[in-house]
Symmetry: none
Subunit: 200 residues, 4 copies
């Protein structure tokens, strides 16, 4: 009665599972979770519809896996950037680079971010994963910043708040295009604000 989901050990199987996840990633990005059906995922992955249920317990399970690779695509470039920084770091120099990086990440992943974030409201597991993502980023960045000599007082709150601001701005920047907003001006504001957070 219990549903057993294959834990693929062989390379062939892992490869196939990844193909499905990637197909899901693409399709969820393109037309959202509800706009995608499992048959299409299978087709795009080049496998049969039946085998999808050999690797995943249900459609939502694919989503969870997609979410995981999405998280990597977000976290990795950020960490890589921070790891390249030299001590002592000059916050005025770093912030613009971070802004550029966050925008870049947002551009690459905006659609899937929307699709996944949309689900976080109605799906506990998805929501949890998102929170975990934020946790990871916040904690790792806090660590790195403190190691580079940034004042550690309330560092988690500072980092988290800064990340919120940057993400929010990246979203504005990539999507909305309100006519009456000068995004160059706004970018300066964002930059100065973040710098101030870490300044004193």
């Amino acid at each position: 009665m219990k549903k057993t989901v294959r834990q693929p050990q062989q390379e062939r199987s892992i490869e196939k599972k990844n193909k499905i996840i990637n197909a899901g990633y693409e399709l969820f990005s393109e037309v959202g979770y509800y706009g995608t059906n499992t048959a299409e995922i299978a087709k795009r992955a080049g496998v049969s519809t039946g085998i999808v249920y050999g690797y995943f317990s249900d459609k939502r399970d694919i989503l969870i896996c997609v979410l995981e690779i999405y998280l990597d695509k977000v976290i990795e470039p950020l960490l890589k950037m921070f790891n390249k920084l030299q001590t002592p770091l000059n916050i005025e120099d770093v912030v613009p680079k971070v802004i550029d990086e966050v925008i870049k990440i947002h551009k690459r992943n905006n659609k899937i971010h929307e699709a996944l974030h949309a689900l976080s409201g109605s799906d506990e597991a998805v929501n949890t994963k998102f929170i975990e993502l934020e946790d990871q980023i916040t904690l790792k960045l806090s660590d790195i910043l403190v190691k580079h000599g940034i004042n550690g007082e309330n560092i988690h709150e500072k980092v988290h708040f800064a990340m919120d601001i940057l993400q929010s701005f990246a979203h504005e920047y990539v999507y909305d295009k309100h006519d009456y907003i000068d995004y160059f001006v706004m970018r300066e504001m964002v930059g100065n604000t973040v710098i101030n957070i870490f300044k004193d």
Copy 2:
């Protein structure tokens, strides 16, 4: 061929249309757009399924209308608060009040906000409406602030940015509950940041 949607003139009809919108509002809030079906909306509104299509062209059309009342629920308490303020306004006093208000709004509307925002990624009309609403809020608030003696330079960018920050924080505050975040500390940061935006 042509779809005719009743444009209700009489009070009775307007009332009924509103009942449907409210039922939609509630259900979309509770279980999201895709978790709701038109039969349920009708049932909750106390009407037949058929008449739903007398007032709305389709399910999405209900969403669009829900989006509109959502705006009111968001914008009205904010405007009311601002209208009570005395000129010249002391930004240090106002910001904490605004934070409280935004948190309150977020608490009341968090689910529906998610649901609507979710759709804006995959539905052009919903997205357009969303942007329209953001525009309205930004422009109205900008207007009020300038009238109260706030420096009008880059006011749209300032207001929009401040709204992003506040919304982002309210979201954090209401939802996420990261263990390592002291929300009282974060709240102070947010307040000071917003105050700084409008200070000089």
Copy 3:
């Protein structure tokens, strides 16, 4: 419990009933019986949907009435033409005129003919009316022809058969447009055939 259908006596009412029938006639012609809904008929007739059921027991009842005015539109011009004929009539002269007339009738009424004929397969009353129409035409024309000196032997069969041929041809002529058919040649064949039927 019984459904009473108003038998309109006053002119205003009769006019209104006719408006509905005409609206039905038009719409059935344009989009067929199943492509038309009663709300549209009412709208086109300039009356409310409710009152339609004051004059007609149901949608099919409108169809029956439409069928009746259709029959008149078919029978009248044919009889008018035959009544103008002079004794002794020259069959070679008459037949081309009849062909022209039948084609004209077909052109004016082809759509509604299709729509009505379509129903005759599944609706006994409609079928009966159609048979009645054929009866009327056959008997009246037979009468006229005999009075004009045409040999009365098997006259009903001759007339009916001739009408079948003419109708069939008119249908071909108005509709089908098979590329490989020279309709001028076919028309000659039809004419000669009909003439032969009445010749000996």
Copy 4:
């Protein structure tokens, strides 16, 4: 977005598709196109409603396929009959046989013929298919007749006209039952008329 209709290759699948077409054929015959719903077709075919949409894009698509097998049921017995004939064929002997055959075909297929013809008025694709089928019959029969030594002048027009006449008569014969018509007499007329068409 895209609708993919299975193109069944395996015998099992083809068989199932045929079952659905046959169920459609039966039901359209019995109660017409609008009197039939897809659930009933599925039930009659002994399959689920879902799989119907695996083989057909929609209900109309079933109709189109039914139209095709209808053609076969009409054309095959006719062709078989003609193929048995000896050259040079004696038209006086052939025509009565053809009349019998056409009546037989009509008896077997009258309802479906009605149903299909009905739709051809309001559905372009059905209409096109219908014309295509008539073309096939005309061209094949013309070919056969010429090969059997019949004068090829205006052969398409002759065949088409003869088919119209025969069909029209078969329809009369099978359905209408006008009291005042002696169908034996009429049958003689039809026979002679058709013979005359091909005589000189």
